[in-house]
Structures are given as structure tokens and as C-alpha cells.
């Protein structure tokens, strides 16, 4: 604020037109968005420089929940690393788990039976639905509509019940094993999944979309806000729904199919402008595609074993450990992490909730990785956030952040 009441112009043109002196210093204010604020959905700080209500520039600080997973992984046997991957994108942890198993299977050159691949697809798509439900409904919360969030929360609960049935956990799932799944789909799980994809979810989700898609307030808050052009998206390393909203049909499930994704019929939804509304629409369309994939997978679920006979990495049945010498030896060696992996350098990518989740693994023939790097989609595209909110208002910055679906656990690893 200027002390006396003289009028000053902000721009040269204004100064000439109004015949008043040009403001010499910028009256910028600094605003901390985060680190802990409900609207940031995680712990990251943005130091905003504001000119009135407009954001002039922002400095992003990340790393508040950095847990050194890559370093910890260098000491752990392969099967223990699965629990680290859970804690990256905790909205869709089964995808991370499966991605890691597939990376190790690639290194070991293990072929996973068809049934296990289909079960994995079902679990990964359920995880994708859970992830997108949260993201889309949180966008509603951030623009002032709470009820949509509560509607879909019930459906996410049903997905978590399937997780519980499959692995006993809800959030940090540790689902699947190297070589397949740790247990088969139980009749209860099949019933729950069928009920979800045929009855409850389509109804509730259609209702949810009806609430938002043509809602005047929601559209005004999101259309044209934070647009990302194709060129910018590619240059900033966008992947996943955020990239597809910009109009590029890149999807790892199609470009490099893994776990039998080539067997399923589905479409890649794309947007036009890459703005907040498009990102919301693309995620919603992906939920419908995921429902389609799960229906196909559950209808055509092949018979057969649900894991490969990978003695060195897949735990033998507990009963056999008590009765069979070989099983006891393998059990001991696996649990103690005594098994040396082959030498190799692997990169495996899966389509995570947020985009291309990559695992770069270098094995030097020891029990633990020599180097393991996670390509975390959040971390790479979040750096564009400063660019996206520049020139906008704080009230625009919040929906942009929630539409990017930045997950702190994945961002900081």
C-alpha cells in the first residue's frame, strides 16, 4: 500500500493515458500455499508472489515426505520392495505392486499364467477406478460441491472390500507376488466385483457425472482454467490422463501392452484443450473404460493356476513347508532373502493412475537391486504447475492442483 493517497499507474500505457506517475516498485505480496493445507491434498509448499489477486510467479518446494525409497531398496530383497511401492501412489497401490512384480518377472524371464494376468488386470483397473473417483470428486470438493465426493466414497469402499478379499489390506496392499498372485479370486471377491461393475458403480457414477458435467458453477470454475497445449504437455513429460486431456492418445496399456491388455477392447479417451474440465472429463471417461475392461476380464477369466512355479521367488504353500524338505528350504531362502537375482538392466512401465509409472532396475547379481529408480509421473509433471497457475488467481490454482492429481507419496517417493 502506498502511504499517501496519490494514484499510481501500473503500466506505461496507463501512466500516459491517465497522466499519473508510473509505480516504481511492485507492490507484490507473498502467499504461502501449503505446506499443510487441506486444499493441497498432501504436503507441498508453493510460495506465490501475488499482484493483488493475480499470481505473478510461484516457487514450488517438494520433498516434505521424502522417505528415500530408492536407497532403502538397495538393501532389500526383491519381494520386500513391494511394500515400498505401495506407499508411492497410495490411491492406486495395486498398480504400483503389479508394476514392480512385472519388472522383476521381466528380469527373471518368468511367464505368468493367463489367469494371474487377468486377475492382475482386474485389480489394476479397480485401482484406477478408485484413483479417478477420488480425483474427480475432490475436484468437486475444491470447487464447493461436497456431496459428489460422498456418493463415490461408498463405491471406493466396495473396491477396498475387494482388496481386502484379495490381500487383507486396504490402503497399502502389498498385493500379488513375484510370479503371480498370492491367492486366487475367491467366490466372494468375484461376487463383489460383479456387483460393483454391473450394478452399483455404473448407477452411482452416472449420477455423479450428472451432478457435475453440466453444473454451471463447476463449468465456470474449470473450463479454460489451466490449459495445457500438446507441445507443452510433451515437453513437460506429461503422461496419463493429464496428457490425454491435452489431446494425445498415449497410453502405456496400448503402446506397450503388459499383462494381457492386448486381449481387451477399450478406448483411450482424449480431450481437446487440456484444461481442468478436460482432465476431469478424461478421468471420468476412463472410469467407464475400466468398467468395460473389468467386465471383459471377469467374463473371460481363464481357468488354470494363479501363479507361476517360480520356486526361487514364490513362497511354497505353508502346509508343504512343514512336510516337504525342498519347500522348507525355499521358504527359508525366500524369507531370508538369500536368493541371488540374475544380472540385468530392466525398464518396465505400467499405466499408473497418473501416467507412466516406470521401474528402472539394475541388478548386479546380488540379493537386492544394485540400483532401482522409480519414474514417478507426478514428480515429472508437477513441475509444470508453476507455469499453469501463472497469471491466474488463487481460486484457479486450487482446482488446477486437484485436477493434476498430485499425490504427495508419489511426488516425493
Amino acid at each position: 500500500m502506498t502511504e499517501n493517497n496519490t494514484i499510481v499507474a501500473r503500466t506505461q500505457e496507463e501512466a500516459l493515458a491517465l497522466n499519473v506517475p508510473l509505480q516504481e516498485e511492485n507492490n507484490y505480496t507473498t502467499l504461502n500455499l501449503g505446506p499443510t493445507h487441506p486444499a493441497t491434498h498432501g504436503i507441498f509448499q508453493n510460495i506465490l508472489t501475488m499482484d493483488g489477486e493475480r499470481i505473478v510467479s510461484s516457487e514450488m518446494t517438494v520433498g516434505y515426505i521424502h522417505r528415500a525409497f530408492e536407497k532403502i531398496a538397495e538393501r532389500r530383497p526383491f519381494y520386500q520392495i513391494t511394500t515400498l511401492t505401495d506407499r508411492m501412489n497410495y490411491c492406486s497401490s495395486p498398480i504400483n505392486n503389479m508394476g514392480w512384480h512385472m519388472t522383476v518377472e521381466k528380469l527373471l524371464e518368468v511367464t505368468v499364467p493367463k489367469r494371474a494376468q487377468y486377475i492382475r488386470v482386474i485389480m489394476m483397473e479397480l485401482a484406477r477406478i478408485a484413483d479417478h473417483l477420488i480425483c474427480s470428486s475432490i475436484m468437486g470438493v475444491d470447487t464447493g460441491a461436497f456431496s459428489g465426493f460422498l456418493y463415490v466414497m461408498q463405491e471406493r469402499e466396495k473396491i477396498y472390500e475387494v482388496y481386502e478379499e484379495m490381500c487383507g489390506a486396504r490402503l497399502t496392499t502389498n498385493m500379488g507376488r513375484i510370479g503371480g498372485m498370492e491367492r486366487d479370486l475367491s467366490p466372494t471377491a468375484i461376487k463383489k466385483i460383479k456387483d460393483l461393475v454391473y450394478n452399483s458403480l455404473p448407477k452411482v457414477f452416472a449420477e455423479f457425472e450428472e451432478l457435475f458435467d453440466r453444473n454451471r458453477i463447476f463449468r465456470d470454475r474449470t473450463i479454460g482454467v489451466g490449459p495445457v497445449s500438446k507441445e507443452m504437455a510433451v515437453s513437460y513429460g506429461f503422461t496419463g490422463p493429464n496428457l490425454r486431456a491435452a489431446g494425445i492418445d498415449y497410453d502405456v496399456r496400448v503402446i506397450e501392452p503388459y499383462s494381457s491388455y492386448e486381449d481387451f477392447e477399450f478406448e483411450i479417451p482424449v480431450g481437446h484443450n487440456g484444461d481442468t474440465y478436460d482432465r476431469y472429463k478424461v478421468r471420468n471417461a476412463e472410469v467407464w473404460e475400466s468398467i468395460k475392461i473389468i467386465r471383459q476380464a471377469i467374463e473371460n477369466l481363464p481357468e488354470g493356476p494363479y501363479h507361476a512355479n517360480e520356486n526361487h521367488y514364490y513362497l511354497p504353500p505353508k502346509q508343504a513347508v512343514y512336510q516337504n524338505m525342498e519347500a522348507l528350504i525355499y521358504h527359508f531362502k525366500i524369507v531370508m532373502g538369500e536368493i541371488d537375482a540374475p544380472v540385468g538392466e530392466v525398464y518396465h512401465a505400467v499405466e499408473g493412475g497418473n501416467g507412466e509409472l516406470g521401474f528402472y532396475l539394475i541388478s548386479d547379481g546380488g540379493r537386492a537391486p544394485f540400483r532401482l529408480h522409480f519414474r514417478r509421473p507426478c514428480f515429472i509433471y508437477y513441475q509444470a504447475y508453476g507455469e499453469l497457475i501463472k497469471g491466474g488467481t488463487v481460486s484457479d490454482a486450487i482446482p488446477i492442483m486437484s485436477s493434476l492429481n498430485v499425490i504427495a507419496g508419489e511426488l516425493d517417493a
Binding site: V62, G63, E70, M232, Y250, I380, A384, A413
Partner: protein, 166 residues
């Protein structure tokens, strides 16, 4: 259809002796180049009319403590969406002078990837607009992913356990 054989021919034909150590690991072609040639190699791959490596997937570092004279490796992974093929480019640098040119002029995404690699390995990216720590705290005075900072061995026996009854 572009395959790894074609890539070797294209890259080798353009750069000759400047690119070496071609290897194929689980379907992905990898090769090494000197720090001074990295920018031209990446720009060539990005702007090539047929290869079209339009996307920088990842940059990361690796520490090979036994590889005397070339302890650090900066690995960048590029992807050609149109040809559905990836390529891995490695730059080995000595630990006394770990300087690698920054890819930020070509890809905006390189910014944070390189900051992360610097943060954990101390590889210096010349030409980077804002090379400072990103995930670790600013006043940290070491690079934690280097191999000399080993995690504690869980099977060690030299601890005095009497105090804790372990």
C-alpha cells in the same frame, strides 16, 4: 518399422566414433556417449524426421564405485511414441568432475529430473537454470545415494545388545 538394428545404423552412421558400447537389455537399446556430445545426440534423436524420439521419459543417475575414472553415470531414457521404441543414453563422468550438459534446452521435463539426480548423486548439470536440491533439505552436505553411504547391515553383530536385551 524401426527396430534396434536400424537405430544402431542411424545413430552410428551419424555420430561414428562418438557413440559406443551399444547393448540391448530386455528390448531397449542402450549406448554411451561423451558429455560434450550428449546434447547433439539427444537433439538428433528428437528432431530426426523418421526416428522422432519426441519424449524424454526419464533421467537418473547411477554410481559405480569400482569403475575408476567414470564413477557416475547419467542415464536418460527417450521414447518415440510414433515408432513405439525406447532408447537409453548413458554418459559416464569421473567423480572429480561430474559435469554433464543439461537437457533443459530441449525438454522442460529435464529440469526436475536433473535436480533430483544432482540431489542424490551430485552430478552437475551444466546449463541448468536452477540446479539446487529438490527432495532433500538444502543444507545437506553430502549426496546420499552414493554407494559410500551404505545403509546399516541388518545382520551386523558388532552392536552391544546387552543394554537393550536384544
Amino acid at each position: 518399422m524401426i527396430d534396434n538394428q536400424r537405430l544402431v545404423e542411424e545413430i552410428g552412421g551419424q555420430f561414428g566414433e562418438k557413440v559406443h558400447r551399444f547393448e540391448e537389455n530386455f528390448g531397449i537399446l542402450g549406448f554411451s556417449t561423451a558429455p560434450e556430445d550428449l546434447l547433439s545426440v539427444v537433439a538428433f534423436l528428437k528432431e530426426h524426421p523418421v526416428l522422432k524420439f519426441n519424449f524424454l521419459t526419464d533421467i537418473t543417475g547411477v554410481h559405480f564405485p569400482d569403475n575408476t575414472g567414470a564413477e557416475f553415470c547419467s542415464v536418460c531414457l527417450m521414447h518415440s511414441w510414433e515408432n513405439r521404441i525406447r532408447v537409453r543414453i548413458k554418459v559416464f563422468v569421473p567423480k572429480e568432475n561430474p559435469v554433464v550438459p543439461s537437457l533443459t534446452p530441449l525438454f522442460d521435463a529435464a529440469n526436475w529430473m536433473e535436480r533430483e539426480t544432482f540431489d542424490f548423486y551430485g552430478i552437475l548439470y551444466s546449463g541448468h537454470p536452477n540446479l539446487k536440491r529438490i527432495l532433500n533439505m538444502d543444507d545437506m552436505d553430502y549426496f546420499p545415494m552414493r554407494k559410500e553411504y551404505a545403509l546399516e547391515d541388518p545382520t551386523r553383530r558388532d552392536k552391544i545388545d546387552d543394554l537393550f536385551g536384544r
